[in-house]
Symmetry: D5
Subunit: 129 residues, 10 copies
């Protein structure tokens, strides 16, 4: 079997298909997802897996050149904001409504079991060359 | 959205289809899975989600009348054995080879991210009436 | 098998996929359904199952933050209006034509066997966190 | 829309396909269903719809020349036995294990929400000419 | 098997799905059918089955609240016009070009083997309650 | 459109695929059809289309080198026997049970609306060269 | 097998589906084909089969009420122009660019192995009644 | 577009998949084809394309290490026998019945429009290294 | 098996479908690919296969009448620019942003393992006749 | 996009699905592949990509506990034998015929462009825990 990294078959394929500027969303379990992007459902139950677990696994596998989060996360979900500050200190803020408008153009949405508000991020892929 | 319980769409459907005596397997991420059973892939990375997380989520949702585990788990994976003793104290033991022979007749295999040896269980469904 | 709740496989999956603000319609058996939403067909025969049975089953499983019904229900179908007043006392009223215009944007339509006029409701999902 | 009778699209198609001697099973919600027959899932929740509701709907639509039930139903589920005595007084009895062995050769299984033991019947189709 | 009525599996399912105001077209074998509606092909050869046979079978099964035919049918196809006058005396007339423009919004087109001009009708479904 | 002959799209394709010795079944509407052969469903309602209509249409389109019917047809269905005597005077007789055993090896079953007993024939294809 | 005519299964089905005014294109092997029409690929190698072979086969099977070709065919491909003059003497001429603009609305494109310039025709179907 | 060779998309893919010892059948239009091999249908009408055209196109594209034909071809179809003698002088002979028994294990059957008896060959692929 | 040329099954089929003026893109492994074109994924790992390997294989198989590359390739990727100058000396230059805007209208994108910047080309197909 | 490793989407998914004792085959471009295993086609042209390139990429990604090669490789293909000796010094030898018999039970076959004899290996997966 694989030595490590992402073990999920459908997600592995989706990550392998990503190109420069494609957008990947890590979503809490309640985010409404429009038609358009491929959705990989990792949500088992509330908190399994967490937003941080999935974000960390993805950042280890893909190159990210920028990120966007909902401004509301800072006040409403300090735990999630701390995770974002640690992993994506340069992430820009938009309103939650604006963030949702970005979803239809994403290539991939990874749904986690995170059950806390505004725990979502839109990652924009870079290339390693 | 759902109030709680299992959030994974494909897994929810698979659980709703189970009948009396159907077998469900909770598997570590390295178990070889034969053709036959439906496979729901929850494995994200090593240890995400754990065997115990997924087992607990399933036991809360379905009626189980008996369970089978590999006898090797007791010596080789005491943490997993403790989880099993706590949730399924009456689980019977067979050899790991015998356990693998049961897989082809299972209705459903739920693959977790558990990365420890012999962390597998075959659950046999009961009915609540 | 499952301990209780929704037993229908396709419906279980559809409910697990719902997010905040997604719309779910509980429909009588004669509502014309536009292309767009996923349709789960529960209608067996006139009155089997009833609107109330299905509505109660869904409300037990999902978080609902608001609801819309046809204003015509109050005069034309007092039994159904009583069910709605009991379960969804704050449901807003629109004309039946306006209600039908909401259908194309719904995520899910659950078709019941209810054979009485205007027995339809559009539910807007909330989140439990 | 249809004037009456069976309203369920997939079930209507399945009934239209039946021929002489084909077998149709009306099943409680916990019957384990082997691979082979087409399965139409009508089970919404415990008791919705009931075994009697679905049986009556099917008998109104198809010609049945014989029926088989589990002998256990008489002692364990007198309500269901009464329904069977009323609608299918000539139904033959086999053991529940024998009944389950008949399932793989059935053409169609209609799963109800009935949540009481041994509420299953195997119907053998006749022709009206 | 079924006691009578419509025996065609795919057509049975299509009829069961119809709701109030949905449109069903009964078509001669040469009508050009746009993308959009579901098409059930009953045309075997010229005249098998006839327009009248299929129209009568459908009217026995579904509630129709209004109908539209091509005005050209009266002069060009008196046999078909007589059938229409008998079964749908209130059918309104539009030009053949206007009738064809209605097809894309139909839910279902049933293609017969009728080989005579303008033998087409657009039925609008009603409800029996 | 086509100048004549078979107008049914799926049936046209199935006939075009036939080779030497392949078997085609023309069936009444109640014949139980095993898994295996492709089934083209022409049955609209009892008697629409008839066995004779479909048989004549097929014989005009394909080369047939021999035919088999149920011996019971002669006594039980003289009208159908007369049709067979006229079109396939050399058809051999087997018991209805034997005829049904031939179905699983057929390439194609064409289901008619014929609602009279034993109105079935197994045609064996020849080649025109 | 079939007595003659078109032997290709997919093409037979496509021809059977055609109605009045539907367009069918017979194309050389290099014509760029837009999304939209069904494409039946008969091209084996350069010149196998020829444009004339396929055109003749189609004209024997379907009713054509008008045809359009590229004006360039007369000067650039006299052999093909002669075939067209013989079979479709009334075909109208448009520029090759205009002809290509007609392709997206065609119902069917039949791709031949013809390897000569401008060997394409758009046929408009008529009805035999 | 391609510079030459095989132009048929599905056939190109099938040829690219072939490995050492895989069998390819070139078939007349009346050969009965069992389930198992992929079938590429090139048959347009009687004699279009011919057996020789397709055989030559395939031999130019793939490595063949041996071939089998029906012994009956020599007496019954001298034209085809001459083609075989020219292109595959070492082809071995078996009875037509034995040849048909080889079909189920073939990887690919290419159906031509050839309408003459015993015009079939089973090619066994070699490798160019 | 094939004597040489392109061995990839899906790519062989895609090339066989190309017509005059259709566009084929040879892409480095990081190019973002919009919905629309068929994508053949040849990328195994960084540099396997190279842009030059795939470009050479395609040019040997298809007729190309013009090509477009990103102007940035000349300064940023001299190795790739040298390959392009050698194989496609007349390729026109547009900005990388303009090149990406051409992708949605391409018929086919062939993704290589090339991991160097701006190693992409849009080929426009010609015909050999 | 991904930081490195395997870039091929379908292959990434296939590798993520592997479990303990599952078999993966790295194959030259001419190996006949039986029905059963999933096949990922990487073969572009002779020698692109090579056996060594693909083997190295897989060994970096998955845990392998044993390997089997054809004994003939040592004498007939010393370059490939050297690659095998370097990467899989403990690989066991069986005859080429025996090796081919192992293919049907493999989970995955990765087809390379290698065009040299006996360049195949059957890898048996291990687990890293």
């Amino acid at each position: 079997m694989r030595r490590g990294g992402i073990l999920h078959a459908e997600l592995s394929a989706a990550l392998a298909r990503l190109g420069h500027t494609d957008r990947v969303v890590v979503a809490d379990c309640g985010l409404p997802i429009p038609a358009g992007p491929q959705v990989v459902d990792l949500a088992f139950s509330f908190g399994v897996p967490t937003f941080a677990q999935v974000l960390d696994g993805l950042l280890a596998e893909i190159v990210v050149e920028s990120a966007v989060v909902a401004a509301e996360v800072d006040a409403s979900n300090p735990d999630c904001a701390a995770v974002l500050a640690d992993r994506l200190p340069l992430a820009s803020r938009v309103s939650h409504e604006e963030l949702k408008a970005l979803l239809a153009d994403a290539k991939l949405v990874v749904r986690t079991g995170e059950a806390s508000p505004y725990a979502n991020v839109v990652l924009r892929c870079g290339v390693p060359f």
